[in-house]
């Protein structure tokens, strides 16, 4: 029973953490795409991989 509680709580926390991370990563990425004036998918992937 306690195994379910522990695993369940970890799943809930990891899920919420994953959502939070992706949302904030996406926000940053949207701003970066705008700032660097990237357009096509290829340009964006290349631009995102550059450090600055």
């Amino acid at each position: 029973m306690y195994k379910d509680v522990i695993i369940g709580s970890i799943v809930v926390i990891v899920s919420l953490g994953f959502i939070t991370y992706i949302v904030f990563w996406s926000r940053k990425s949207i701003e970066k795409i705008k700032r660097k004036k990237l357009h096509s998918a290829r340009e964006i992937i290349k631009g995102m991989n550059e450090r600055r």
Binding site: D4, S26, S29, I44
Partner: protein, 712 residues
């Protein structure tokens, strides 16, 4: 921006901010799923199951939100899944997407009507006010659902957009209320940690039950479609659409988990009336379980919750009705359904046939199907629709990734959309255990749609402008800094005179002119179709537009729902409007639209009344303190030059409120476009300014009045 045959550019006004579209998404999500879903999820999966249900559903919804975000940033046009499927797979799949979207929105609307009914009836039954009714609770709920759905169908038919305007505030209110409930749950646990025992056994029926509860509560996460639909009207859509989709999923997931937690810990074990363990007691109420638990969490909990549910369900019901109507209207417009689906009521200017068919589906599903079948049917249709969108995002990136201009692309492509497809497939299959009816209704609807496509749509469909424009999306060149005058034309009878006066002002001020064509475009119709409303019986306005072409000035026609925002967006310096002379309601000083413009427009406002096509020989300009007097004199001077008229600046001195005419002349000398040779000044002492002006005005052809700081 696009050019039409008369070489006047037309643009759609982008009025919806990031806040507006995020609230629209939240409004669709927090409609019913959470209120009905929590009690049922506790009943089927136990106290831990409900937390896992909402957390994991949030993850799956996020995967689909990423697909929607990528597609909407690349194709920011109204149409949502319908457009994405058309670009990815062609018209057949696009029709299926539109067909599913129509039904999914209708069924979601039914669910909101039922939720409204359940919570309203529960509240009034609690007060003992429904004892006299000869119906059972279930039948009363169905009658209320029928009535509320009919009411909102009528509101949509009337074309009232007030609900849309205040919808964002409703959504904000209900979101804050749910956050408050979530916080109250944590506070209760801090004060009484023994309530954490309510979470055991965590999963009394095992992990597999979570898949069922995730399936029927998935409808609580469908809000991206309505955000995608705003592609033509959102400000900076490449950036704001993806953000709004992701923010709305983030906010609702946190809120749902917090609220589900609060619901479980709100009931104390062994409290009066609580039979068995708290989670069993809450679950025994099924769809009413959330209400029963929250009513024990805080004082007036029952009342506040009922109020929140009423607000949530009516705003979501209204939103789904116009969303569903838009979907069927678009199918009719593109001739994928018979063209009468796109016909507009002459009287109300709303797509009444699309609305009527939408209403039939909403009401019959709400009245006939049991609540859980309604929720499951809505969920399964959205699962199928999102399945299609996740496939489309892969196909479009692979085929057109180098041609489209993206504002956002998802990470881990194509694994995340593939994962979403697999998860949604599993949820859809598991829903079979929850509702066989949903699994009969959904395939029957889809198969009938495929039949309609092959036997009707395929031979009737037309190529629409949207289809061509998708890849030709251009960046609009920055506008040159120049004095800008917008003329708002609504009445064909005075359009020509207004344009004529505007041209005089624009020549004098070396301004460009923007023609704002004021036609009410109902919410159910995309702004892209506004042209259809303009041409009907508006020949006077068309003539006025052609008249504009004779002048070497920049002209454009703007379609917008909110004039004040349109003015802000285009940095207009002066707006010119006509006024018929009488407010239609005592609630307004001049009129519903004119009052709002005067209050909110961040520019000069010129109101013309009965200018006609007359010659002015004498123009009266009453002068008081404040900048508007000089503006009035400037406008009068420009008109006087054209008509070779004489201007009289009329200074009215009331008792104890003397105006220094020398000072007025000095202030006026700094203003361009004022020809002092034409101006004669008269100063009068009187008791009543209004009467003095009216008496003097009888001798003149035109009165130009600047509003004053103090009332006249």
């Amino acid at each position: 921006m696009r050019e039409d045959k008369t070489h006047i550019s037309t643009e759609l006004s982008r009025e919806l901010s990031l806040f507006d579209i995020t609230m629209m998404g939240l409004g669709m999500m927090i409609g019913a799923g959470v209120f009905i879903g929590i009690g049922n999820a506790i009943y089927f999966a136990g106290p831990g199951g409900v937390l896992l249900t909402f957390a994991l559903n949030g993850v799956i919804a996020l995967l689909t939100a990423l697909s929607y975000a990528e597609l909407s940033s690349a194709i920011p046009r109204c149409g949502g899944a319908y457009n994405f499927a058309r670009l990815a797979f062609g018209r057949g799949t696009s029709f299926t997407a539109g067909w599913m979207e129509w039904f999914a929105s209708c069924v979601a609307g039914s669910l909101y009507a039922v939720t409204f009914a359940i919570y309203t009836v529960r509240y009034f039954e609690g007060l003992g006010l429904l004892k006299w009714l000869p119906f059972s609770s279930h039948n009363t709920e169905r009658i209320v659902a029928f009535l509320i759905a009919s009411f909102f169908l009528y509101i949509n038919y009337r074309g009232a957009s007030e609900m849309g305007k205040i919808g964002a505030f409703f959504t904000l209110g209900q979101t804050l209320f749910l956050i408050f409930i979530g916080l109250a749950g944590f506070i209760v646990v801090l004060m009484d940690p023994s309530r954490l025992q309510n979470l055991t056994p965590y999963l009394p029926y095992g992990w597999s039950k979570i898949l069922i509860t995730m399936g029927f509560t998935y409808v609580a996460f469908e809000g991206f479609e309505v955000i995608a639909q705003t592609g033509d009207e959102a400000i900076d859509p490449k950036r704001n659409l993806p953000k709004a989709m992701l923010y709305s999923v983030f906010i609702v997931t946190l809120i749902y988990v917090a609220v589900a937690f609060a619901s479980i810990v709100s009931v104390k074990a062994g409290a009066p009336g609580v039979v068995g363990s708290p989670w069993e007691w809450i679950g025994s109420f099924k769809e009413r379980g959330f209400g029963e638990s929250i009513s024990r969490l805080m004082p007036f909990g029952n009342f506040l919750l009922t109020l929140a549910v009423i607000f949530a369900s009516i705003s979501a019901l209204n939103a789904t009705i116009y969303s569903a109507t838009r979907a069927s209207y678009a199918l009719g417009r593109d001739r994928m359904l018979p063209s009468f689906f796109a016909s507009i009521s002459q009287k109300r200017k709303t797509p009444w046939i699309a609305l009527m068919f939408t209403g039939c589906i909403v009401i019959s599903v709400a009245v006939v199907l049991p609540t859980m079948d309604v929720a499951s049917s809505a969920s399964i249709m959205f699962l199928f629709l999102f399945f299609l969108v996740n496939i489309s995002v892969i196909k479009i990136r692979l085929d057109m990734g180098d041609e489209l201009s993206y504002g956002f692309i998802m990470p881990f492509f194509p694994w995340l959309p593939l994962l979403a497809v697999i998860c949604q497939g599993i949820l859809a299959v598991w829903l079979l255990k929850m509702s066989l009816m949903a699994w009969i209704i959904a395939p029957v609807w889809i198969i009938s749609g495929i039949g309609i496509y092959y036997f009707y749509s395929k031979s009737h469909t037309i190529t629409t402008e949207d289809e061509i424009c998708v890849i030709e999306e251009e960046e609009i060149a920055p506008e040159i800094e120049q004095y800008s005058i917008m003329v708002a034309v609504a009445n064909p009878d005075n359009a020509l005179e207004m344009i004529h006066t505007t041209c005089l002002l624009s020549e004098a001020k070396n301004a460009n002119v923007k023609l704002l064509h004021m036609v009410p475009v109902p919410e159910q119709v995309p702004l892209a179709d506004a042209e259809k409303f303009m041409m009907e019986g508006k020949e006077g306005i068309v003539e006025a537009m052609l008249y504009l072409l004779k002048f070497p000035i920049i002209t454009s026609i703007r379609y917008c729902r909110n004039i004040a925002r349109g003015i802000k967006e285009k940095k207009i310096d002066m707006i010119i409007m006509g006024w018929h002379g009488q407010p239609r309601s005592r609630l307004f000083r001049l009129g519903g639209i004119v009052d709002v413009i005067i209050e909110r427009a961040p520019c000069n406002v010129v109101i013309l009344k009965g200018i006609g096509n007359r010659k002015f020989k004498r123009i009266l300009v009453p002068i008081r303190r404040g900048p508007n007097s000089t503006l009035a004199l400037e406008v009068a001077s420009i008109l006087a030059e054209k008509h070779d008229a004489e201007i009289v600046s009329f200074i009215v001195n009331e008792k104890n409120r003397k105006i220094d005419s020398a000072k007025v002349s000095e202030i006026l000398s700094h203003r361009p476009n004022i020809n002092h040779k034409r101006i004669k000044t008269i100063s009068v002492d009187c008791h009543n300014t209004v009467e003095a002006i009216l008496e003097e005005a009888e001798k003149y052809d035109l009165l130009v009045l600047g509003t004053t700081r103090e009332p006249l």
